[in-house]
Amino acid sequence: MGDSKVETISRLAQWKIDNFGPCSYKKSDPFKLGIWNWYLSIERNRYLYIHLFPEPSRVSKEQPPIARFILRVSNTASSSSSSRKFYISPVHERVLRTCDDFVWPVDTTFLGRLIIDVEFLDLKIYPLNGGEASSIWPSDGKLHSVATQNTLRCLSRMLDEAIHADLTIITADGTLKAHKAVMSATSPVFQASYHNSSEDKESSTIHIEDMSQESCTALLRYMYGTIKPEDFWKHRLALLGAANKYDIGDLKDACEESLLEDLNSGNVLERLNEAWLYQLHKLKKGCFAFLFDFGKIYDVRDEINTFFRHADRELMLEMFQEVLTIWK
């Protein structure tokens, strides 16, 4: 009975058959490799036919393996170990569903001990929702994501525990510790700021007094890659100002997108003003559409008077032109 067990290590499966005996068919026990259970079977006729197939199951039906593999058969005649023979298959690559999908005939009659090796070079599957086949084994992408997570964890610790922090930030209502290197890498303004300061005590302090400590913490968390969505949401107006001031383009874009997501009659005029101040084209168009295309300007009749008294002339001109275009 021991003859039907297949041992596996890494991507190699090995079936040792000490004695084939008089029978003409033999099937191995299932062995697990990748996400499938596999079988090997041998049929002895004029040739020796070797089959390789996955166990019929839901997995092998929905996501049959696209296998790239090599087979090797070696035979040690029981009389002497010197008469060892090898048969190595070419590299096969095919979809394996049933036992008929792959058969390798070996033109020989074996006597004595038989070892069949299957070395899987790759196992791919198509994603269930369509798309390119991809390997089931960890590839560079996986390693990359592991490395990224690790980096984020390190950065988060650097900020929270102020590891080797070389900078004190003075905000409107408190101080924070951070790293010149990280801030320089995210913002050209900070880079220039440290570049132009002399190497003394003064350069290790910066003033961001136009931000609260809480907002500035959110800004730092963005720079260190560990900002939480709820903090972003809460501080996005302050973050928008900082992104504009310190030239952090992708943060500015993210804030603009976010401000577009919850336009309403209560905030549209303020948002329009922000859009104008920070030259946010998409947000401006969004506010125009909300006010004019959707007619919400009638909901803000009282506020619009105050708005017109203070707003920039050029902005009013644009609004006027927008109205004219709609009337056409």
């Binding site: 700021s193 504009n244 001031k245 005029l269 003003n273 707003a311 920039d312």
Partner: protein, 208 residues
């Protein structure tokens, strides 16, 4: 609702005075400029541009820089004999350093105000002002050409000259644009060179 429009009529003048003072100190390249906080100056410049004073800020900047460059030109013009090149080189090095700092302080103006106008960004503006007021000054242009040629021929004659100085000054001309280098140095140099070879070849012909 906060419209963030600076309604204080003196807003611009107050902030510009801080910046103007700082720019002067930076141009002096002395230790007084050290105590100035880059962050603070950047913030002043940022809010001025944000509050729509970009144009005003730019024209004030041009005026301040022009008057400074003119002062430099005067002091270079006044330099005596052999110290002329050294004076020019020292002034250029200080000016260039200061220009980089000023460009960084006014980064936001360069980024948002300048692209919507025909105006030159700060760095380019600085180089142009230097070229027009210093290099192309009537009392400097020919003197510079001649001094450079003099140095080059002295060196060819085996005399000991300050090569570092020549290198720095010619590099300045290249930084100011290929045409500047060509006009002030290359063309006159080739001309003089051609004449001197001509004279030399005549000598040989007569000798034969």
């Amino acid at each position: 609702m906060n419209f963030r429009v600076a309604s204080d009529p003196e807003y611009f003048d107050k902030n510009w005075n801080i910046l103007k003072h700082a720019i002067r100190e930076i141009f002096k390249c002395n230790d007084n400029a050290r105590h100035l906080s880059f962050g603070e100056l950047h913030r002043h410049a940022y809010y001025m541009v944000l509050h729509n004073f970009g144009e005003k800020l730019y024209s004030k900047l041009v005026a301040t820089m022009t008057s400074h460059v003119k002062e430099i030109a005067k002091s270079v013009e006044a330099s005596e004999g052999s110290s002329f090149l050294e004076e020019l080189n020292t002034k250029w090095n200080d000016y260039y350093k200061a220009l980089e700092i000023i460009r960084d302080i006014l980064m936001y103006m360069d980024r948002t105000y300048i692209p919507s106008t025909k105006n030159k960004p700060v760095y380019e503006l600085g180089l142009n002002l230097w070229r027009e007021n210093v290099i192309y000054s009537n009392q400097i242009r020919n003197r510079l050409s001649n001094t450079l040629l003099e140095f080059v021929f002295k060196e060819r004659a085996g005399e000991d000259v300050n090569r570092e100085l020549i290198r720095n000054v010619t590099k300045m001309l290249i930084d100011l644009g290929p045409s500047v280098y060509e006009q002030v140095f290359e063309t006159p140099f080739l001309q003089v060179l051609a004449e001197s070879y001509k004279a030399e070849s005549h000598k040989y012909i007569e000798f034969v």
